[in-house]
């Protein structure tokens, strides 16, 4: 219990960039229950959260304007990282990823995909197209440290491996009938 509290305190203190400004997460999910839970999880860990209920709304927040007359200002809300559900109607997490990575104004914003389903093809497609990570729902407190690490500017090369290494560790959860492997590690195309 003490160890967990220590870790939580550390993470609360660390959900800030090098200037001490809270990391701003754009959390995208069509499910109201999940938006509320993820929002609270992030806020408790001292992230700043903006929620969107669709990919379309997320793009609006990022400054993609349908108004062709006025030039939209991209990312004026200063989003540091996008955390998006994969399964959403109309525009899914992959579509959102492609839209973000296809626009030079916002493509540097890291995108992390979350999903309740384990689909290896889906995962590799997202990672191959620029997603930083693919996390399993429901999001846990320990996943949050990863988010912070993806926001770090010009991070030094990690001791555990090079950026080119693809690491997918499947860790089946104990105590559940359905095998729900957790994906740990970073993969970059």
């Amino acid at each position: 219990m003490e160890e967990e509290e220590e870790q939580q305190k550390h993470e609360q203190a660390s959900a800030c960039d090098s200037n001490g400004t809270p990391i701003h997460v754009l959390a995208v999910d069509d499910c109201f229950v999940d938006r509320k839970i993820v929002g609270k999880l992030l806020e408790k860990a001292s992230f700043k959260v903006t929620s969107a209920d669709s990919g379309k709304k997320a793009l609006e927040i990022l400054g993609f304007s349908q108004d062709k007359v006025e030039k939209s200002s991209y990312n004026d809300q200063k989003i540091d990282i996008i955390l998006t559900d994969y399964c959403m109607p109309e525009m899914n997490g992959y579509d959102l990823l492609m839209a973000v990575k296809g626009n030079s104004n916002v493509k540097s914003i890291p995108v992390v995909i979350i999903s309740s389903e384990y689909d290896p093809q889906r995962i590799s497609r997202c990672l191959a197209n620029g997603a930083e990570d693919f996390l399993r729902k429901p999001l846990q407190h320990k996943d949050l440290q990863k988010l912070r690490s993806y926001v770090k500017p010009s991070a030094p090369v990690p001791k555990t491996g090079t950026k080119r290494k693809v690491m997918l560790e499947l860790i089946p959860e104990s105590g559940t009938a359905e095998t729900r492997p957790r994906i740990a590690g970073v993969a970059v195309a």
């Binding site: 999940d34 309740s116 729902k137 429901p138 105590g175």
Partner: protein
């Protein structure tokens, strides 16, 4: 004071039974960990959202299965949503019932889907009653001047 301790005991035992019987899983604990002085009703709020959302989805599913031409893709999408939200609040038995339901959707088996819908409705109704009882017990503990023990 004895009254409070007895109520707290009742609450702890009841909560433990819900986990033991598989109605709730670890994710419910995670939810409780998110509740604090700034958001003292967080769990009740999220669970209420889950109830509203589930009832809407169950109605949609019933309607969809009554159609002449059953749209299994649409049904699967609804069940997927219900599976997701039940997993997010730790309603394990509802989640498992949804998994079985999706298998019948894949097979495009209307009869199987109808049976599963009944099963999901049944599990949902059970967990709803259990959670409402849990929240009632929590309110009694608080009203008696006690505090709700945090999960380990």
């Amino acid at each position: 004071m004895d009254g409070v301790i007895q109520l707290q005991r009742q609450l702890v035992d009841y909560t433990a039974s819900l986990f033991h019987e598989g109605f709730l899983d670890e994710q419910f604990n995670q939810l409780q960990q998110l509740q604090d002085e700034n958001n003292p009703d967080f769990v009740v709020e999220v669970v209420s959202l889950f109830f509203e959302d589930s009832e809407r989805l169950l109605n949609e599913l019933a309607k969809a299965l009554e159609q002449q031409c059953v749209d299994f893709k649409r049904i699967d999408a609804h069940v997927h949503q219900l599976k997701g939200s039940s997993s997010s609040i730790g309603a394990q038995r509802v989640q498992k019932a949804c998994i079985a339901f999706r298998n019948y959707c894949d097979e495009q088996n209307t009869e199987g889907c109808l049976k599963c819908l009944q099963q999901v409705k049944h599990e949902y109704s059970l967990v709803k009653t259990k959670l409402e009882t849990l929240f009632k017990l929590q309110r009694r503990v608080l009203a008696a001047g006690g505090s709700i023990p945090k999960p380990i």
